[in-house]
Symmetry: C2
Subunit: 286 residues, 2 copies
């Protein structure tokens, strides 16, 4: 599947991410349709020109129109949708998703999917602390990374199609990882960081801390405003990996704590120097 | 001491913060002098118009010119300076500082200071991840908080002078806390956050993580680029408070960890809801 001009896109799940995909693709001149639960979201997206048309009903007539289907759903709802409606999808279509955990999603779907359709997982590492299609904004992709997670069930053409999608959406980098590597990495970079932010935010009453706060606390807790339903699902789908990343973090944290307790200034400085050195890699590419 | 137009300011320690104070005060039309270790910093600051004059030598003739002295030094160097040179300071002068830890600094200085001079602690909660007068920038005060930490040794006039200084420097809010309350608060909001950032940054090699990183990890590690000498000193000066804040954080982190391990979704969601609720106070005032 080459993404040529007459390819038709279907977005299933018109929230912040689905809406932002829709906006980017429509602006590029593609025909974009949507299926989502709320008619209000469809109406909004049509009115704002994010999609050409949309529906709250999943019908064979509508679903079979599309060449590329992007699922922007919670993981469990996603696999249920595929189980229930995959018969409606056109042969040769390419399916992809935006889910933050890959192994449990990708292998499950590839196992149940009929062979005439290809599913290739992807994770657009972009977001905002707001929800809903009303906040759709394709500019969130501009400085973000897009990760494709192929398995040996994928074809070179399917992988190419998914990579191309990341590129035309405007992501800064498009890269590939196995689903397992992705989940290890995301357990550390994204899930652990959300756990840290949430824990820090719940330590103390915050109402009267605001007047004394510098940027550090604000930065570390930006992501503490969190969608509890989505993240509970994501954390549990990646439970073993996340727990091992959390344990690694606590180990490092205790190392620093003990060096402070023992007034081991050499050790303290050594840890901080390593930290400064490692953070520098992020400055260069920022 | 009222901050009227002919008040002369001395900045001791011309780094990022000292230089930013100098810039703000000079731009307001005050005469600002500086004492610092490096002649290069003096030359730079004179050339850029941050100060009127400066010196690397601490002499009675120079020091006695000034009505308000701002110490932008590391805590230990600060108390040593006062011990050695307080005889040079003009009677009636007001002294203040910018140190990130207050109790050990403020009480020590007030104990050794001769009664003709007043020292009142302050903490400008502003900064950057770069150092030196070359990076001085008064705009860092604009959205920041300034905390005055008076004790019963301070006069209403001294407190007023220090509050006024925070205001004319351009801080968003000027507030007062006891040195003890300040250190408790800063142990949590600033020191704990730096410990978390450093620990997270030292967990793994970072060179090949960059391409997969979203904003969360970048946000949580911005302050992991850290001046190891200054922070080692600050951490140890506030050791007991910091350790207790670190322990509180680990306790909360483990609570979340255990709820994930036990797949206790109710508990997980409850923690995340509390987190979202508490973070909202920061949005409102941002």
């Amino acid at each position: 599947m080459k993404i040529i001009k007459d390819v038709k896109f279907l977005i299933v799940g018109l929230g912040l991410i689905g809406g932002s995909y829709a906006e980017a693709l429509t602006d590029l001149g593609y025909e974009v349709g949507a299926i989502t639960r709320s008619q209000k979201s469809i109406d909004y997206a049509v009115e704002k020109g994010l999609i050409s048309h949309g529906t709250t009903e999943v019908t064979p007539e509508y679903v079979s129109k599309f060449d590329v289907i992007v699922f922007a759903l919670y993981p469990k709802v996603l696999t249920e949708w595929i189980e229930k409606y995959q018969g409606y999808i056109k042969d040769g279509a390419v399916l992809t998703d935006v889910t933050g955990v890959k192994s449990p999603v990708v292998y499950k779907i590839q196992e149940i999917l009929r062979p005439e359709i290809e599913f290739i997982g992807a994770h657009p590492m972009a977001g905002k602390e707001v929800y809903g299609v009303e906040n759709a904004d394709k500019s969130i992709f501009r400085n973000a990374n897009y990760i494709v997670t192929p398995t040996d069930k994928n074809t070179p053409e399917g992988i190419q199609c998914c990579r191309e999608l990341g590129k035309i959406l405007g992501f800064k980098t498009v890269s590939e990882l196995s689903p397992e590597k992705h989940d290890e990495m995301i357990g550390f970079l994204s899930q652990l960081t959300h756990c840290i932010a949430v824990s820090l935010m719940t330590c103390k009453e915050s109402e009267n801390l605001v007047d004394y706060t510098g940027d550090s606390f604000r930065d570390l807790t930006r992501i503490a405003k969190i969608n509890e339903n989505m993240w509970t699902e994501l954390f549990l789908l990646n439970k073993d990996e996340l727990l091992s990343q959390m344990d690694l973090f606590v180990e490092k944290f205790k190392e620093l704590r003990d060096s402070i307790e023992n007034e081991d200034t050499e050790k303290m400085k050594e840890i901080m120097k390593l930290s400064t050195h490692r953070r520098a890699f992020f400055d260069k590419k920022q």
